[in-house]
Every structure is written in structure tokens, then in C-alpha cells.
């Protein structure tokens, strides 16, 4: 029964017809016809970063963010489960007591740092978080000149992401390249969708 499933790949043996085909350069014509056809078809590339940008699907695992609830309180309760779940030990959490209503409980994170240079972007911290505080967002332009910049502190992570969590994604949108003092940013305009393909 097993032998039935074998398929011997076809290997052309050069014959007279093959020689004739070669003399009229049929093999090159066949190949060139493909490239010429694509020359006339529409481009499939994205004009990134100048004009367009890819907004990933919702499950995308990009840079970390820390979330707040509707009333603006920090969702993180500094339970340190993300630290335990992390395979690379790239997260540092130092808890502290705070009953001023900054967080949803009276235990908040004094320090919440992630070293993106070590991070795997596996999403285990997101899976481990019991309060939806940690999320891997959809920011993927993470290049930086200094290694220190790859360490994201709590203040940076608490800022809202460029793509909201409930945004559908999986589309190409209009974008603008911005040069700032801190580096280059590609700012997407989420409501200007561009069709491709």
C-alpha cells in the first residue's frame, strides 16, 4: 500500500525536439513572457514608509503596552505572573502599595519594565496576565540607535497605542513619514484604507 503513494519526479531527457526548442530559445521566451507579463500588471508592493503602511491583524504580537480601565485606572496589579511566564526574563516588576485609586487594586506596579532587546514576542506575558493589563500591541517599528531605548518603562508603556485594540486590522492604510527629534515615525491614518491586489 505504501508503495502506491510514491511518485517518481519527471526528468526530461534531451531529445531532438528539445534541441530544436533550444535553438529557437523557447526556454528563455517562456521565462521572459512571465516577467514581461508582470511588468504590465499592477504592482503588489506597498509604498512603505512614505505613503502606505500595513496595519496587522488583531492577534499580532508587537510592542508591549499597559492598559487602563474605562476610568483611567491602571489595570496592572503587579502580580508578577508575566515575570514568571516569560521565557527570557525580560520583564521586571516591582510592586508597591497605593490606595489613592491609581490602580484597580491597592497594589500597583512601582516599576514595570520590559527589555525589548531580549523579548521573544511570544505573547506568554499577555496569556499570563489576569487583568488584560499587558498586551502586545500592533506597533512594530522598534528599531533604535541605543540599547537603553529598547528598555521600555511603565510611563512609556501606559501611553495609548497607535492602533486601538478593537481595530479590525489586516489592511493597508495611508501613512505619513514623520521626522522628529527622537527618530523617524510612520504615522498611519487608520480611516484611509488603500486597496491592493
Amino acid at each position: 500500500m505504501n508503495e502506491k503513494k510514491v511518485k517518481i519526479v519527471k526528468r526530461d531527457t534531451p531529445g531532438a525536439l528539445d534541441l530544436a526548442k533550444k535553438t529557437v530559445f523557447l526556454d528563455f521566451i517562456k521565462g521572459l513572457s512571465i516577467t514581461l507579463r508582470y511588468n504590465l500588471s499592477r504592482s503588489i508592493t506597498i509604498r512603505y514608509p512614505d505613503e502606505e503602511k500595513w496595519i496587522p491583524y488583531p492577534r499580532f504580537r508587537g510592542a508591549h503596552t499597559l492598559n487602563r480601565d474605562e476610568e483611567g485606572r491602571e489595570l496592572c496589579v503587579a502580580c508578577e505572573l508575566c515575570v514568571k511566564a516569560c521565557p527570557t526574563n525580560c520583564i521586571t516588576v516591582v510592586p508597591m502599595e497605593d490606595d489613592t485609586g491609581k490602580g484597580i487594586a491597592d497594589r500597583v506596579a512601582k516599576v514595570w519594565e520590559v527589555d525589548l532587546a531580549r523579548c521573544f514576542f511570544c505573547g506568554y506575558c499577555e496569556d499570563a496576565c489576569p487583568t488584560t493589563a499587558v498586551r502586545l500591541g500592533r506597533d512594530y517599528e522598534l528599531a533604535c540607535f541605543e540599547l537603553d531605548k529598547a528598555r521600555k518603562t511603565k510611563e512609556e508603556l501606559l501611553k495609548p497605542q497607535s492602533v486601538p485594540e478593537d481595530f479590525e486590522g489586516g489592511i493597508i492604510v495611508q501613512a505619513k513619514l514623520q521626522r522628529t527629534k527622537s527618530g523617524i515615525k510612520v504615522k498611519p491614518n487608520l480611516w484611509k484604507k488603500k486597496e491592493k491586489k
Partner: protein
């Protein structure tokens, strides 16, 4: 005494000295960080000695200090061209040790994921092979299709290269309807696109000249050197773990095993092209047959409760804390499980001492074993053919150096 004979043993008027050439580790055609020490007599290769280890990260040792689920992301970094297969091999080995059977839907999802990653891996192989031998066009077309597959992965699991999709006891996310739709679309366009690559390469005289009867290895030698995967089948050995030692649902699927006749680079190329067609067939069948139902096993100690329950239910929250901080214990014992990865036989050997961490983990990586046939294949060939031989072996150094 100076040896004046050339490679054929004839006396020559002009004597050429044996030359040692270092090919790589930063050579653009050396597929990553391969360092090949070549002994040359003129243009002919006397000996090819692969020097590996430039990307060594101690993956096997790292595993000893990690919980069983924590090692899954590390397997992504082995063969980064087709990370799903690496995930799959590892989780299957752990599941064999635990003695659990994953639900039907998870099995089908895993097969779809693994075959998509086989497609992605072979596309890179053929594209890079084309570039190495001077056919730039095919790389761009291959990457266009690879992009479609990576978009599918992004939709399915949020990663594009380092996927971490499999988990012990199932998969991490269920497939959405959009994924199935796009997957079916890929299956529709893919055969036509493979025809395109064939039109560009298979009949092309330069491609034939560079690959036919280059790097020939006989079936016996291939078996003796431990080759596996498309490289072994190119030599005419019909051996595929998906058929011979079926795992998941491969025994229910209808597909063919392509084998070559001569065992040269051209056969290995044809085998890969045909394998891509068969992968498309497998994905189509899986999409058709995939049942509904759970995508993780119903075993609370292996798989934590769904996140929705964790936010609402106190018991689920306690269980979640317990799972994340302590993981689960794996029974004492030893296990080996091998799968047919795109590059060949990928096996995980795990020794468990009954704790939450593997006592020892050994990975049998196909690239490492395949690479040792470089010397056999390129001996007596021209220097330029070494490039074709390496491309046809398709080593990936994340995997080879571990």
C-alpha cells in the same frame, strides 16, 4: 617532495598548488553563517569541510532551565524559515511523554500549520537557490507567495516568523473563518504560481546546466550519511515519516511522496517543487475535513482555563495562577519523537526526571546531519558547483548550530 600531478593523476607542465579557500561565514551564497573550508586544485574541489557553530546559542542547555511550555518559543529559533514544524516536533514529543491525545480539530489545525510552513520553507529554498545560481527573478516571485503565507500566520497566531502557535495539548488560537477563506484562496492560486516557477527554472538551460548531474549522491551513500527529507528522496529513497510513521492525521490524508532517480541537485529541486504541490493538496483536504470542536485538550493541569473565565471566575483565576507559576509535572521517562520537517527528520529526545523541567533535551536537527554530505557531494566538482550543492541541501543555521 612537490606533487606535480593534477586531480586526475596526470603529470602537468604547469603545476598548480593546492589552495585552501574559506567560503563564508559572510558569503552571500552560504545560506547564513556557513563557513566552508575548501581545498582546491585549480577549480576543482578536493575536500569540503563545513565549519559550523557561528550561531550556537546552547538551545539544548537552555531547555534544562525552562518549564516545558516555556521552551516552545525557543524552538521557533531553530529553523526560522518554517517555525511551525519545530513547534510541532517539540509539543508532540512532550505529549508522547505525557501520554495525551489532542482533539481532532487541533490535529487538523496543526497539520495545516505545518504544511503551510513547509510551503514557506521550500519557497525560500527555491528562491534562494535561484539567486545563488544567478536567477534573481524567482526569489521575488517566491517571496510574494511566502508573504501570503506569512499573512496567514499573522492572522492565525500573531507572529510572522517566530510563531509559537503550538502549545502542549493543542494550539494557542482557533482558526477564524477569514483564515480558512484565505487559506483556501492560497490553495487555489498556489498551483498556478508553482507552474510559474517551473516555467522560469525547470526548462531553463542555465538552470539545467548548473544542476543536472551536479552533486550526485547515490541512495546507499545518502542512507549511510544519514540524509533525510527531500535530499534523501532526491536520491530515490522513498522515506517520508508522514507516511511511514504517521503522526496526527497524515494516515488519513491522500498525498504522494515524490522521489528522484539520479540524486543530483536537479532531482532535489524537482522533489521540492512536487512536495509543494502535495502540501497544497494536504491543506485542501484538511480544510475540507476539519471538524468543529475544542482545539485544546480538556485536561485542567495541562491547559489552563480560557481567559474569559479567568477575568470572571475566582476558581479559574486561582487555577490560572497555579498554572502560570508552577506549570505541570511531566512523568519520569525518556521519549523520542520525530516528524517530517521541511528539511528532513526533526526529532526531539527528552529525558524527564519527573519535574516541570526537562532533565535533558536533545534535538536531532536535519540541517546538521544533511550538511555532512557536502564533502561527499562536492568532491571533484567545480568550485561554482559547491554553491549549487549547498543550496540544494538547504541548510538553515539557526537549526544546524542550535
Amino acid at each position: 617532495m612537490v606533487d606535480n600531478r593534477d586531480i586526475n593523476g596526470d603529470e602537468e607542465a604547469v603545476t598548480t598548488k593546492e589552495l585552501t579557500l574559506s567560503f563564508g561565514p559572510q558569503h552571500p551564497a552560504s545560506h547564513g553563517v556557513l563557513h566552508l573550508v575548501l581545498d582546491l586544485q585549480g577549480e576543482k574541489v578536493l575536500r569540503a569541510d563545513p565549519d559550523i557553530g557561528y550561531l550556537h546559542r546552547g538551545t539544548e542547555k537552555l531547555a534544562e532551565n525552562l518549564l516545558y511550555p516555556q521552551f516552545v518559543p525557543y524552538t521557533d529559533r531553530l529553523d526560522y524559515m518554517c517555525a511551525m514544524s519545530n513547534n510541532l516536533g517539540y509539543v508532540l514529543a512532550v505529549e508522547k511523554l505525557l501520554g495525551i491525545e489532542v482533539p481532532e480539530r487541533a490535529k487538523y489545525l496543526r497539520v495545516i500549520a505545518a504544511e503551510l510552513s513547509r510551503l514557506a520553507g521550500h519557497l525560500v529554498c527555491i528562491g534562494a537557490w535561484g539567486v545563488d545560481l544567478g536567477a534573481m527573478t524567482v526569489l521575488l516571485y517566491a517571496f510574494r507567495e511566502r508573504e501570503m503565507i506569512l499573512d496567514l500566520f499573522e492572522m492565525l497566531c500573531g507572529g510572522r516568523m517566530t510563531l509559537t502557535y503550538m502549545r502542549i495539548g493543542g494550539v494557542r488560537w482557533d482558526a477564524t473563518d477569514l483564515f480558512k477563506e484565505k487559506c483556501a484562496e492560497l490553495c487555489r492560486v498556489m498551483p498556478g504560481r508553482i507552474d510559474e516557477y517551473e516555467r522560469l527554472l525547470t526548462g531553463n538551460r542555465i538552470w539545467i546546466k548548473r544542476n543536472k548531474n551536479v552533486g550526485v549522491i547515490s541512495a546507499e551513500d545518502a542512507i549511510d550519511l544519514g540524509l533525510s527529507g527531500p535530499n534523501l528522496r532526491g536520491s530515490g529513497v522513498s522515506w517520508d515519516l508522514r507516511r511511514d510513521e504517521p503522526y496526527l492525521v497524515y494516515d488519513r490524508l491522500d498525498f504522494e511522496i515524490p522521489v528522484g532517480q539520479v540524486g543530483d541537485c536537479f532531482d532535489r529541486y524537482l522533489v521540492r517543487i512536487e512536495e509543494m504541490r502535495q502540501s497544497v493538496r494536504i491543506i485542501e483536504q484538511c480544510l475540507r475535513d476539519m471538524p468543529d470542536g475544542p482545539f485544546v485538550v480538556d485536561m485542567p493541569e495541562i491547559v489552563p482555563p480560557p481567559k474569559q473565565d479567568v477575568y470572571k471566575n475566582m476558581e479559574a483565576l486561582i487555577h490560572h495562577f497555579k498554572y502560570v507559576s508552577h506549570s505541570f509535572k511531566v512523568p519520569k521517562g525518556e521519549v523520542y519523537h520525530a516528524i517530517e520537517a521541511p528539511k528532513g527528520e526533526l526529532g526531539y529526545y527528552i529525558v524527564s526526571d519527573g519535574s516541570e523541567r526537562p532533565f535533558r533535551l536533545k534535538i536531532r536537527v536535519p540541517s546538521f546531519v544533511n550538511l555532512q554530505s557536502t564533502d561527499h557531494m562536492s568532491r571533484g566538482e567545480y568550485l561554482a558547483d559547491v554553491v549549487a550543492v549547498i543550496s540544494s541541501l538547504d541548510p538553515v543555521f539557526g537549526e544546524c548550530d542550535k
